[in-house]
């Protein structure tokens, strides 16, 4: 504990000589420890009095009165850097920070070359650095007050924030100050106070993420000073000074954060393309070496997965916006003509149709013996796969365009009124959750959590047993894209143009990637890559872990179809009427 007073030295009566008087309370109770503290104080005060550097305030005197010890110092007209930073709107100019850093290196060079022993300051931080009106730096508050601190007992909150890891092992190497200077520069450039952040989290909080105007050269210097391993840092203040002096402040370079979006490999060359007669909005499905895909030209196409050669097509009486489902030699798909079709997967011959009262956009899901799908007539249908006979229906409040997710005995689906339902085949409703806007995104069931997007812009994580909303993640536009999961993350797109990766357990954002259009296509996850389309006409391949672009493949129309991956090949449809097969 210490207090600093602004005082006037009355021994110089003719002039006004101001000084700073630092008062310290001796907190040690034990008489031996007490006298040891006093001896340490006198030794430190004497050492300070011998220092002569323009950036170090002069010591005029010291004395002790009872419990209190005092140090009389040169008075500095100025502000500490913490105050300067607080008063600055936006960020400090890089050139100004580099100028301070150079001055700080100079004073460290002086302290570290002190004989017979280098002086390690140990407490470099913005509040201990003052700057006067001529932009000159002073290092104040040599840690002399610490000699009076008693042993700390009990749990305390808050860390020093600027100290390197080895300082907690008692290491007092001059390179301790290099780290603290790096931490100070990080704070000055990012405006993030490390005392309010987890200790040693500078790496996780890169400066360029909040302040993209900082040059990569300066960033490299700060990050080298902040290396946790003492041997990876600059070997001396002189070395860091030279690196800083080599910068040419004022010259700005391209912000680093956009590079991730520009960089990326070359787009792959398609293995084949197949032209339909109208838009392909539905997701292709691959089974037994055949790609099945529906188009708005009313046809369901069967194409050879390797060559893209046409095998057969089946004409419905309306456009096909629903994705086919293949199971046990049968292809099921719905059409705008209100019917669900069951086709022989090999020959393309019709097996049966199931008429409903509305257009079908919901993609069917096949379960043992049943196929389940929704219709614009507000009903969910459960149909026998052999006969096409309706086994059960559930009436929702609005059109069902979302495709159902099927768990153990439970079917989950959403409707255009915004409800998510969990129903048993026996007809019992387990629960219902109401989002604020319609559900068109298909729910994803995994690990007993149901993930679903809504037109209200939220991705919801619902407890599949009880329907409780475990967490939700907000985007700024409707979510039509269906979520997919991998590596502990949920991936989905939003009409706000981004592809998102959020932690599947707690809903925290991991990364997001901005495309130039809306992302209504549902991402597909394969190995370590996310594939997703955008209305900006491209198919994107994004690194699942980092959100960095791998490649971008341009098509001739918006890509609202979701990619499908099979044996190292991505299949996707586009509104340019084509189906593309691309190597991963």
């Amino acid at each position: 504990m210490s207090t600093v007073y602004k005082a006037q030295d009355l021994r110089f009566r003719q002039v006004t000589r101001l000084c700073a008087v630092k008062e310290m309370l001796n907190l040690t109770n034990d008489p031996t420890a007490r006298s040891r503290s006093l001896r340490n104080f006198e030794r430190e005060a004497s050492l300070l009095a011998t220092l002569a550097h323009p950036a170090i305030p002069q010591v005029y005197d010291y004395f002790t009165e009872g419990d209190h010890s005092y140090l009389v110092l040169e008075f500095i007209h100025g502000k500490n850097l913490l105050a300067v930073l607080d008063e600055t709107p936006g960020f400090l100019p890089e050139s100004r920070v580099v100028n301070w850093a150079l001055q700080l290196c100079e004073v460290l060079i002086y302290l570290h070359s002190h004989q017979p022993q280098p002086i390690v300051f140990r407490d470099i931080k913005p509040s201990n650095i003052m700057v006067d009106d001529k932009n000159r730096i002073r290092l104040v508050d040599f840690g002399i007050a610490k000699v009076f601190q008693g042993e700390q007992k009990g749990t305390m909150i808050g860390t020093e924030g600027y100290s390197p890891p080895e300082q907690y092992r008692g290491v007092a190497d001059p390179r301790v100050d290099i780290y603290s200077l790096g931490a100070t520069l990080h704070h000055l450039l990012s405006k993030q106070d490390p005392q309010l952040e987890p200790p040693f989290s500078f790496r996780e909080r890169p400066i360029e993420k909040v302040n993209p105007s900082v040059s990569p050269e300066l960033l490299a210097i700060v990050y080298r000073a902040l290396e946790y391993d003492i041997n990876q840092r600059y070997g001396s203040a002189m070395e860091m000074y030279q690196a800083l002096a080599n910068l040419r402040p004022g010259e700005t370079s391209a912000p680093m954060f956009v590079t991730a979006e520009i960089v990326g490999g070359r787009a792959p060359t398609p293995l084949w393309e197949f032209a339909c007669e109208d838009e392909v909005r539905a997701t292709p499905t691959v089974a037994n070496g055949i790609v099945y895909v529906g188009a708005y030209d009313n046809n369901l196409y069967a194409l050879d997965a390797k060559s893209g050669k046409f095998i057969w097509k089946y004409p419905a009486e309306g456009g096909i916006g629903s994705s086919p489902c293949v199971s046990q030699g049968r292809v099921y798909f719905g059409s705008q003509d209100h019917a669900l079709y069951a086709i022989n997967a090999e020959t393309g011959q019709l097996l049966w149709t199931c008429p409903t009262g509305g257009a079908i956009y919901s993609s069917p899901r096949a379960q043992v013996g049943y196929v389940v799908f929704g219709s614009d007539d507000h009903k969910l249908y459960v149909v026998n796969v052999i006969s096409g006979r309706v086994v059960a229906t559930f009436l929702a409040e609005a059109a069902i365009r979302s495709s159902p997710a099927i768990g153990e005995d439970v079917i989950y689906f959403g409707d255009e009124a915004g409800s998510v339902y969990a129903v048993r085949v026996s007809g019992q409703t387990l629960w219902r959750f109401r989002a604020r806007r319609g559900i068109i995104s298909s729910p994803l069931l995994t690990e007993e959590v149901l993930y679903v997007g809504s037109r209200d812009g939220y991705l919801y994580a619902l407890d599949s047993h009880a329907g409780w909303d475990l967490w939700r993640y907000r985007t700024s536009e409707p979510i039509v894209s269906s979520p997919t999961i991998g590596m502990g993350a949920v991936f989905f797109g939003s009409a706000d143009g981004h592809v998102y990766s959020v932690n599947a357990t707690n809903g925290q954002l991991i990364w997001r990637y901005k495309t130039e259009g809306q992302v209504t296509s549902s991402p597909a996850f394969y190995e370590d890559t996310i594939f997703v389309g955008s209305t900006d006409r491209s198919l994107y391949a994004i690194e699942a872990k980092t959100g960095h672009l791998r490649w971008r493949f341009p098509t001739g129309g918006p890509v609202v179809s979701s990619p499908c991956i099979s044996e190292g090949v991505v299949y996707v449809g586009s509104c340019d009427h084509r189906v593309y097969a691309l190597p991963i």
């Binding site: 890891p165 959750f433 967490w471």
Partner: protein, 277 residues
């Protein structure tokens, strides 16, 4: 020592039901052998509602370990526990009793937990300035266990596979261990092992670690203050819990073990058996 110990009602023994439909819990708290007063606070609540429209079994378990001079530590821990519990019960249980409809108009479980911790934070920083407390909350909804946490109290998932720590200590030494700058043994005896970088009672909004776990039948969840984990090894904890004849006996054995190891701090434990179905 027994005279100073307070303990929960005897818990159900495993023989009563092979698999329970509801969470069961026992607890114990003790001042230890060095401190003069107990700065820990806890709350245990189990709610069941059956009928035509049942609510899932609901359990709320909170533990707080206060810090601060002149008895402000125990005021902080109690205040944080009560403030957080009141908010969670209001928004996750009472609201559900009044209107069972699930909708986006209600906040999500994560949002409620985060807000509960922030209200506790505001309450402590305004009413007991200078004091602080850890705050750890386990919320069970059916077999889902939500863990919300700030500070260095811990939650363990005890299963046949051993003890898995579900929380991360917000302590300086834990970060140093992560960075490879200290070994776990060095951390355990480090002079600054009691420095937390995050706790309830600090200024501004508080960041809360929130995680979800799905439990399997037979799993136990242990919530404890550093008075236990600082003195009794994970292996010992697993051994005692698995060999005890009841949840309550296990709690008492754990406290006893910490006292035998020195009882340097207050010791609090809550042992939860989540519903098996």
């Amino acid at each position: 020592m027994t005279a100073r110990r307070r303990a929960g009602k005897r818990g159900a023994s495993p023989s009563e039901l092979a698999i329970t439909r509801y969470p069961r819990a026992a607890w114990a708290t003790d001042v230890g052998r060095v401190r003069t007063h107990n700065e820990d606070a806890l709350l245990v609540l189990n709610a069941s509602q059956e009928g035509e429209q049942a609510l899932p079994p609901f359990g709320l378990f909170i533990l707080a370990d206060g810090m601060g001079g002149q008895r402000s530590g125990e005021i902080a821990s109690t205040l944080a526990t009560r403030t957080a519990a009141a908010h969670i019960l209001q928004h996750l249980y009472l609201d559900a009793l009044i209107s069972p409809e699930l909708s986006a108009a209600q906040p999500s479980v994560s949002e409620v937990l985060e807000e509960a911790f922030n209200q506790a934070n505001t309450a402590v920083s305004t009413m007991v300035p200078g004091a602080g407390t850890t705050l750890t909350c386990v919320l069970t909804i059916g077999r889902r266990a939500y863990v919300a946490h700030v500070g260095d109290s811990r939650v363990y998932l005890l299963s046949t596979g051993g003890a898995e720590q579900l929380t991360h200590d917000h302590s300086l030494v834990d970060r140093l261990v992560e960075l490879g700058q200290l070994t776990a043994d060095e951390a355990a005896s480090h002079p600054q092992r009691n420095i937390l970088y995050r706790a309830v009672g600090q200024t501004g909004r508080i960041e809360v670690d929130i995680n979800l776990h799905t439990t399997s039948p037979g799993d136990r969840i242990l919530v404890c203050s550093d008075g236990l984990w600082g003195l009794v090894s994970d292996q010992e904890i697993v051994r005692m819990v698995s060999t005890s004849s009841s949840l309550q006996e296990a709690c008492e054995m754990l406290v006893e073990a910490a006292n035998l190891a020195g009882g340097q701090d207050n010791i609090s434990v809550i042992l939860i058996e989540p519903p098996g179905i």
